[in-house]
Amino acid sequence: MSLKARIIPCLDVKDGRVVKGISFVDLVDAGDPVEAAIAYDGAGADELCFLDITASSDNRGIIFDVVRNTAEHCFMPLTVGGGVRELADIRKLLNAGADKVAINTTAVKNPDFVASAADKFGNQCIVISIDAKCVSGEGEQKRWEIFTHGGREPTGIDAVEFAIKMVEKGAGEIMLTSMDRDGRKSGYDLALTRAIADAVPIPVIASGGVGTLDHLVEGIRDGHANAVLAASIFHFGTYTIGEAKRYMNDNGIPMRLN
């Protein structure tokens, strides 16, 4: 099998600017998502992900320009998520240059939306973004519940069951974020990642919690994910994409190195 595991840097974009901070050495303007995308493209990232966290609906349109400008300079796959509510939103993102669209809250509220989106645009471009949190007590069998609205609202829905349901509706990929681990740099929630990756026939992207290169290796090897997503370790220059890919490759995970 010569398909490689993927490293996906993720940029949170608010009102057209990268937030959460980014400090590449050779960037003129660290807050510009297009410049960041170009830097990652040059560094050998396997895909890019933009999450639009713009709060006001007035500024929702800005992300289309960001995607369009990125597609002008970067000839690599691009996933865009955040605020996808209608089929027209997906159409506009794809026309601007996105390859895949990540759907979160709308998929929970209206699972049939996923079915119509997959029918219209193909399963391969529908990524279901799941934010999950462990809700089982100590000593209990592990259970995770999904949260919506950027992780603020509990739903009472079991994460594994929801992932299976999304596959039935036509999802092509799952982007799985552990809310317990996000931003903590203690590694992915491997039990969660493996529970979902083993339960679904579609690729899973592990997200939330990367602090070291070993965490990336674990996400694929132990979490059974097909791709690993990370933000701060790359944004702040702790590691380069190249270092991460070589490290993973040296630790038994075939990566694209050219």
């Binding site: 099998m1 010569s2 398909l3 490689k4 595991a5 993927r6 493209d41 396997d46 369009r68 597609a71 002008e72 000839f75 690599m76 796959p77 159409r91 794809l94 026309n95 601007a96 240059g97 996105a98 390859d99 895949k100 029918d119 219209k120 645009f121 193909g122 399963n123 391969q124 471009c125 092509g172 990929e173 026939p201 579609i202 690729p203 899973v204 097909n226 791709a227 694209r256 050219n258």
Partner: protein, 216 residues
């Protein structure tokens, strides 16, 4: 030289157009890259690109919905033998039939059906999403200067179906995904890739540049 990218309502036209524009500029080639849904513009072009994202049947229906487009395409590619580049579902449409969801006729330029990929290793996920290398079955002019094979450049795939060609001599390259999967097919002036050259960085831009220079 005019290269048209056919717009029939199937995604990612912007990135395809930009990649062709970039490859043209980088190779210092003259000419224009035009995105169009007008059959008469297809009729007067020199090269034709058919992108496509989504399901075979939907893409076929989308193409049929543009009045006169399928006729213009057949005339340009079959009668006038203009260089043709099909991308992803645009490549799959070159087949005899598509078997995704329902059975739909293709252009029948490459004899064979578009069928679901079924990796022998049951742990492999469908769709195949990501970067894979190309194993060359029959060398092709379009691959000139591009390093292929297990240590070669990678191409970006995102698909659940592939074109199973009846004639081995119409397969240019395969990739390995729990078994052989069609990556490139070709015949005469027709060339198609299952992967996305417009998303395949170095390999993709080199392939597009070769297409813009190709004299089949």
């Amino acid at each position: 030289m005019k290269t048209v990218i056919i717009d029939y309502g199937s995604g990612n036209l912007h990135s395809a157009a930009k990649a062709f524009e970039r490859a043209r500029r980088d190779s210092a080639l003259d000419g224009e890259i035009i995105v169009t849904d007008k059959p008469d513009i297809v009729a007067e072009c020199d090269r034709v690109v058919l992108p496509g994202v989504g399901a075979f049947a939907d893409c076929h229906a989308g193409l049929e919905a543009v009045d006169g487009m399928e006729e213009a395409l057949q005339d340009a590619v079959v009668n006038q033998a203009k260089p043709f580049f099909g991308i992803c579902v645009g490549m799959q449409l070159m087949a005899t039939r598509g078997l995704e969801k329902i059975t739909t006729p293709g252009f029948d330029w490459i004899s064979g059906d578009v069928v679901e990929i079924r990796p022998q290793d049951k742990h492999l996920k469908i769709p195949q999403i990501g970067w894979n290398t190309l194993d060359i079955v029959n060398n092709h002019q379009m691959l000139e200067g591009i390093k292929t094979g297990p240590n070669g450049l990678h191409a970006y795939f995102v698909h659940s179906f592939h074109l199973e060609a009846s004639n081995n001599n119409e397969v240019v390259a395969r990739c390995d995904y729990g078994g052989p999967v069609s990556a490139i097919v070709a015949r005469d002036n027709m060339f198609g890739t299952q992967f996305h050259p417009e998303k395949s960085q170095k390999l993709g831009l080199a392939l597009i540049a070769n297409f813009l220079r190709w004299n089949p």
